[in-house]
Every structure is written in structure tokens, then in C-alpha cells.
Subunit: 336 residues, 2 copies
Amino acid sequence: MKPIRLVAFTMLALLSAVLSAQAADLLPSWNDRPARKAIIEFVQATTDKASPNFVPPGERIATFDQDGTLWVEHPMYTQVTYCLEQVPALAEKKPELKNMEPFKTVLSGNREAIAKLSTKDLEKIFTATLTGMTVDEFDAEAKKWIETARHPRWNRLYTELVYQPMLEVMQYLRANGFKTYIVTGSGQDFVRVYSERVYGIPPEQIVGTIGATRFGYDKNGRPMLTREPGILLADSNAGKPEGIHMMIGRRPYIAFGNSSGDREMLEYTRAGGGARLALLVMHDDAEREYAYGPAQGLPDTRLGAFTQALYDEAKKNGWIVISMKNDWKSIFSFEK
Amino acid sequence: MKPIRLVAFTMLALLSAVLSAQAADLLPSWNDRPARKAIIEFVQATTDKASPNFVPPGERIATFDQDGTLWVEHPMYTQVTYCLEQVPALAEKKPELKNMEPFKTVLSGNREAIAKLSTKDLEKIFTATLTGMTVDEFDAEAKKWIETARHPRWNRLYTELVYQPMLEVMQYLRANGFKTYIVTGSGQDFVRVYSERVYGIPPEQIVGTIGATRFGYDKNGRPMLTREPGILLADSNAGKPEGIHMMIGRRPYIAFGNSSGDREMLEYTRAGGGARLALLVMHDDAEREYAYGPAQGLPDTRLGAFTQALYDEAKKNGWIVISMKNDWKSIFSFEK
């Protein structure tokens, strides 16, 4: 080999080694299986200017459902736990609630009875604990709670129960010019309280269920925003693409969900032109997290469950089903 | 003078010259008067880490009303003109409208009669021309229009009638880490059609009046979003702070308006802690643009006028009133 060729060959070999090392570094908590491969190929296809599926940086939108997709949603959605745990303090301020249902049941601490509360009962609890205060008061209250409340199974803060592989996906997408959004059925203002710290996602990139607010003035004539009963956007199912249009005004190129409540968002994402990726997190790891949903042969009785019909739609349309058990090397950062 | 001192002195003189040159380059279409000075001092106070009013980059939010603040709003809001000009094409598709009011009046071309249409009539026209199509169809239609429609006075595209001094403020704020938002009574999706090209503001940073959309499927089972009658947010007056909270989730540090419809946004902005700046554009230049509002002794009969009461509130509370006549060297970029 002539010296100049040798140099070229060596450089090429070095470059190739560097590139494989980089590829191996990508998404380190993911096993090298089809889901990881699909995400990496999607990013390459949308960010390479020579690719027919290149997407200009400003249009690179990625959306993530939260509960069950980014963090643990069992045994209850975190915000539902928040609302239930606010009831005792509320009953101190308004003692008349102590003998009124559904507050009486919540105060009894009887878990079985609480689990059986109807949707209507829960709505009463949501209204009582999420409205009637200023947005700043709510923010302070929710912040205080989320900084101390712990999940019963792990005895860890809820904010520690985020899925490490999903954090890596968010960072990887952002490093490639994607703007990451959370699109959640949970309250927009609730998730905003911790989203920046936990996910690196600022308040303006949270699309959630939106309650009404009312601008007014306090006793001293100081402007304030009060949280009111009434929902402007129920950000689940059809509400997800509607909320995405309202809050972002662009269609995502990649969207992650884990239940039927995410179905319309994934369909809407895929219906755009070019390379679009839809992914569903499947909870099939009872040992490290939970197992529920179609692959388990277990009924998923939650609101917005991962149904067999959703699984079939995913398989039929080339959506990626992520197996927590098989695709994720580790689930939480504290496992490492 | 010793040589070393001479060098130091020369360097200091040079540095000082460079700094003044930079200051002189800032906001070049602004005369060196209190409004320009207040904006520059605000940016210095909020971006200097040593300042007691320093604001971390992510929290630097700037909001701008559009019509009358960023571009010409006379003789009509641009979107109202759009809706009126859509009526002939609509009547071709739905001939029954030709003999129905208020469409008949619009089709007559009688400007006086059109100017007298009631709010209820206008709402009928808005519903007929802004809803009933998919969001993509509306986007294409509005885009086609805005690329060709011209203002009667200047015979120029509406998008050319942006105020050059305000473009400079936006660029200056962005260069200093501020995220710029439009907060407008006009339709959110209408402004999104041109905002990126005209102002450098992407769709997700437009807060406007929000119409309902409905997710569904077309004949071929393809997901689509349809524009529906019904308003989710009327983004004027109290709707502006409410919309800001919903879409951004943070309080602005600096806000620009030009009418009573912006009052609550400016009040809300100023009520935050630290350095917060509220500014009102006053139309007092009949020669180069229009003159209306309190300083003219002329009644401003528009919806959301710049009233004398607003002027008094501004003066009382240290808001900056920008005189187009005195503060702006040039108004439009084509004047240069």
C-alpha cells in the first residue's frame, strides 16, 4: 500500500471506529433491538440534509405522553394522588367537608373504598383541590408536595420514578434539533411545576388538560389569575391532536404514548408526510416495574388502557411497541 | 505620559468608542429619546448577572400585541379584511348566501354599508369563512391570500406594513435571550401563517384567539382536524393574561400593546416582581401612518381603543408611551 493510501485507509478506519463508538453511546439504557434501531434511524433520516426525509430544525417536533410513558402511572396517576392527599388540609379549612361525600371516604383512609370512587366523585375532589386559588398559590402548593411525596412501592420521590431510557431519548432528540413537548391528560399546570427540573422541558412546552382561569384584581387592586372550575381542553384521546394544534401549531414527527388515550396523537403524527414515528411503551415487566396490558393477557382496566385493539393497530401500521422488559437495560436511574 | 500609560489610555478610549458605537447601533430606527433609553436599560438590567434585576434566560419572555403594535391596523384589522374578501368565493360554492344578509351587503361592495355591519353580522361572516374546513385547508387559503392581498393606502402587501422599529426591538430582545411571543386578538392560526417569515416568530409562539377544532377521520379513514364554530379563548382584554398563562405558563417581563385590549396584559406584566416594562404604541403620525387616540384629542372608536383612561393609567404607573411621530425615525422598512 502506498503511504498516501495507507494514511487515507487509517483515517477511514479511525473515522469508522469513532462513528461506531458514537452509535454505541447513543441511548445507553436501551438494548440493541428494533425499537432503539428505529429511533436512531428516524433521527438520521430527518436530520441528514441529503435524506429525502430531511426535516428543517424548526419543524422537528417530538411529543411524549407522561404517565406510563415517561414515569410510573401505577397504582394511580400522580396528580390523582396529589388531589387525594390535599383533602385533609382542605377539610381543615372547610370543616363542613368532613361529613360530606366523597371527602369523608377520602379522609377515612380506606384504600378499597377510595379505589371505588366514581368518576363523578373524583371530579368533585379535583374541583375542590385544583380550583379556587390563584395560579401562584396552586404552583407553590403543588411544588411543595412534589418535592416530598413518595411512591408507596419504592419509597422514592415520584420525580425519581422517571424512565431513564426515555430521558435518554429526549436528550438525544434535543441534541438533534428536536423540540420536545409533553402532551398529557394530567393538568398542564401540575406538570409544569416539575417538568423543567425533571425532563428539561420548560412550561411553555407542556400541553396538558387545561382548566379555566379568570383574570381579576385582589383587594389591593393587584392583578391576579384565579383557577376556576371548567375545562378548556381535556387533553386525552381526540384532545391530544387538538391540543397539539392549539399549543404548537405543527404536527409532530415522532410521538410516544402508552395507552388508548394516546391513539389519536399517534395516528395524527403518522398521517403527516415523510418519516414519522409512533411508539408505544408496553408495561410487561412486573419485576422491575409493572405488567399490564395486551401482551400479558391481563385486562388493563384503567381509563385509557393499552387495549388489544390498540396493540393490533400498532402492529398493523408499523408503530413501534417498546417492551420495557426486553428493550430497556435499566428502567430507573437509581438502579445503576 | 509614560508609554505604558499611553497604551492603556488609548485602549480605554478605543473600548469606550466601540461601546458607544454599539449603543448607537442598537434600535437604529428609534430616535434617542426616553422610550429607546427605557428599552435598552431594561435589557441591560435583566441580562447583566451583576444586576439585582437579572432574569435567567429561560424566564425572559417578551409579548407583543400585533394589530396597531407591530403593523398597521387601519382601516380594518387585516383578518377582518381577509374574511370579507373570502365571501365572494364562498358565495360561489354556496349560492344561497348571495341573497342572505350579511353576505349580500358584503357582495355589494358598498363600503359604507360594510363599515356599518354589526358585531353579530361580522361574527356570521367570521364563522362562514374561518370554520368548516380542515386546519390544513385554512392554512393554504390564508397563505395564498396574505401573499397577494394589498393595503389600499400604500398598495403594498400587508406583510410589508410592519413597523421597522418594532422588528428591531424583537431582534434586540432575541439577541439578548428573550423569547418573543405575539399575543393578539386576531386568530391564532391566521397569524401563524406568516409570523415566522414576517417577524421570525414560530407558530408555537403565537397566542391568539383560539377557535375550536375537532379531530376526526376523512372518507378514507385518514385523521384530520376540522375548524369548528366556537371560541376556546377570546384573546383580548382579560383573555390576554389568561392566554399567556395557558400558552406560556410564565409572566412576561416586557409587553407591548397599543389599545385598551392590551391593558390587562400590561397590568399583569407589571405586577410581577423585579424589572418589568410595559409599553404602548401611540398612533400620532397622520402623515406617515395614522393619528388616532387620546393625544390627538380624536375619539378612537375602534373596539379596544386607546382611550384617555388608558393613557392616564400608563402615565400614572410608569408605562412607556411610544410616540410614532417622535420616537420613530422611520416607520416602514421601504421608507429607507
